[in-house]
């Protein structure tokens, strides 16, 4: 059984008008079945309001399903007794870097999670050191978070989760508020965690470039899973993605446009190198 599993997950909330009277019911997550294996790198794509963040909050037991079930490492998230275990095993990184750093010094922030879990002092220090090293922020351990760039702050947040020794990390649009360099920094750190430390990663984003390296991409729309597959499989459906108001890496789009114009190229080209090679092959074949 997977480390994160959901079965027929539905989440509804009541919309209210200004006076607080109910206006209607919105179904934010609609009948989602998910099964994520240990060590997998899964990306969830979708525009704002597609339900992807709501889904993520279920995995951390911040929200509870209206219908259906969520299991994290075999534990049902609705069971009150499991809440703290679940939060330790499935760590969560949020969008705004400023609103999730609690400590006034980097190392103290990273130690916050272990402190809450009751980890002995000596071990907290060991965990803080290894976590900061894993995200490449060790030399900043004595800094005030206010002195760091957005990308650095997010890496500190990741270290803060890592210090809790989770089995998986859920990142809810961790790069949405960062500049391109900050985005690269964070994604690099996340990939390293997945590949080197073997942490299961669930990355929620709307930047397509960030999901190219995922093992699996899930596209959500209106609370449902619309598409699912390897990045290549998903990106070969350019029309579908466009209709879901998502965009596609420029290379993939160019390849798609060329193909439409009659150049025989394979589907789902993801990198510049692939396109250059494919075009080379095509030119060779047609001469």
């Amino acid at each position: 059984m997977g480390i994160i599993r959901t079965s027929k997950l539905i989440y509804e909330y009541i919309r209210r008008d200004e006076e607080g009277n109910p206006e209607g019911i919105t179904r934010a997550v609609n009948d989602v079945d998910l099964d994520i294996k240990p060590g997998e790198f899964v990306a969830i794509l979708g525009h704002n309001g597609s339900g992807k963040s709501t889904l993520a909050k279920h995995i951390n037991a911040i929200l509870h399903p209206t219908e259906g079930t969520v299991w994290v490492d075999g534990m049902d998230t609705t069971d009150e007794e499991n809440v703290w275990d679940i939060r330790q095993r499935a760590g969560m990184v949020f969008q705004n870097p400023d609103n999730q750093i609690i400590g006034q010094v980097v190392e103290e922030d990273v130690g916050f999670g272990p402190e809450n879990m009751g980890v002995p002092t000596k071990e907290i220090w060991e965990r803080v050191e290894e976590s900061l090293k894993a995200v490449g922020m060790y030399e900043y351990r004595k800094y005030s978070p206010n002195k760091l760039s957005g990308g650095q702050k997010q890496r500190v947040s990741i270290a803060g989760v890592l210090a809790m020794h989770p089995k998986c990390i859920i990142l809810d649009e961790p790069t949405a508020m960062l500049d391109p360099n900050g985005r690269k920094e964070v994604i690099r750190a996340v990939r390293a965690l997945n590949q080197v430390e073997g942490v299961t990663v669930l990355l929620i984003t709307h930047y397509m470039e960030e999901v190219i390296h995922a093992d699996r991409v899930i596209v959500m729309d209106q609370g449902r899973i619309e598409l699912q597959g390897t990045p290549r499989e998903v990106f070969s459906q350019v029309d579908r993605l466009k209709s879901l108001r998502l965009d596609v890496p420029q290379v993939t789009l160019l390849a798609y446009e060329l193909k439409k114009a009659g150049v025989a190229l394979p589907d789902g080209i993801l990198t510049t190198q692939e396109l250059v090679k494919a075009l080379g092959d095509f030119a060779y074949a047609s001469h």
Binding site: H47, M177, H206, D247, Q250, E257, F282, A283
Partner: protein, 283 residues
């Protein structure tokens, strides 16, 4: 007429030992009606630069002229300048405060001392310009989606009917749909009204698609100032300062290196497609 920056310097914390030069000897001319992309990584001085354009920050050296007059002259009307040079900050939705969308957009024109009727007329126009439908006018701005909130905030500046519109990273944090909507609206507005637009951005792809001039800032100085195609020729230098050319630029250069006879200076998808098809002898 135009905005002229004459050897503008700005040093933060000038009298302490922690003084930081945010702008170093910046000379620029911004003529009417241009669509300009202002690019630079975080801390390159681009946000400091735009706050000089409407007099929010005063240069520590040099001068800024708007339509031929020094904006820091004693008798210069700063309030009027701020209505002529409209500045939309990053995450502008954070400045919304009124109970409904329409009143919030009226705030700017009212501050200009216009009559209620005139202010409302302008607010109406501005909201239409950013594509906000009438049904949202009397809703609380805080109930709107992220992209809508941002467009309302932009309307709040547009309602002052500026001659120059400066947008500081207007798409930050939005999803692709919200991003395209905002940029398309801005481009449309530019086309219809002919105002000068300065778009501050991190994304070369976005900028390449819309602007006719790119100013690249690095460490407080102007690094490049030219048409997109010329600026992107320097993609190796751009990389060194933490920026990148659009992905197509790389593709075109790679293709050329691989022996395909394409013009490597294509900057948009359409240009690249046409070039490749031409080189392949398809057209």
């Amino acid at each position: 007429m135009a905005i002229i920056l004459d050897h503008v310097n700005h040093i933060y914390g000038g009298d302490t030992e922690m003084a930081v030069a945010a702008l170093k000897d910046v000379c620029l001319t911004i003529p009417d009606g241009q669509f300009i992309g202002l690019i630079g990584h975080t801390g390159s001085g681009k946000s400091t630069l735009v706050q000089h354009l409407n007099g929010l920050l005063k240069p520590t050296g040099g001068a800024i002229y708007y339509n031929g007059r020094d904006i820091h002259d004693e008798d210069y009307n700063k309030k009027e300048l701020r209505s002529k040079v409209g500045l939309v900050f990053q995450y502008p939705e954070h400045q919304l405060f009124e109970a409904d969308v329409f009143s919030d957009v009226c705030f700017g024109p009212k501050n200009l001392g216009l009559t209620k009727k005139e202010a409302e007329l302008r607010a109406y126009q501005a909201l239409r310009q950013v594509g906000i439908e009438k049904e949202y006018f009397y809703q609380s701005p805080f109930d709107l989606s992220g992209g809508q909130k941002r467009r309302v905030a932009i309307a709040g500046v547009l309602a002052m009917q500026p001659e120059v519109l400066v947008l500081d990273e207007p798409t930050a944090g939005l999803d692709p749909k919200g991003r395209d909507e905002i940029l398309d609206q801005v481009a449309k507005l530019k086309e219809e009204t002919g105002i000068t637009v300065i778009l501050v951005s991190h994304s070369m792809e976005d900028v390449a698609k819309y602007v006719d001039r790119i100013i690249v800032m690095n460490h407080g100085s102007v690094m490049f100032d030219d048409v997109p195609r010329e600026v992107f020729c320097h993609y190796r230098e751009l990389e060194q300062v933490g920026l990148a050319a659009p992905q197509v630029t790389y593709i075109m250069h790679e293709l050329r290196n691989a022996g395909l006879n394409v013009d490597p200076e294509a900057t948009t998808l359409e240009e690249a497609k046409a070039e490749i098809l031409k080189a392949l002898g398809k057209r």
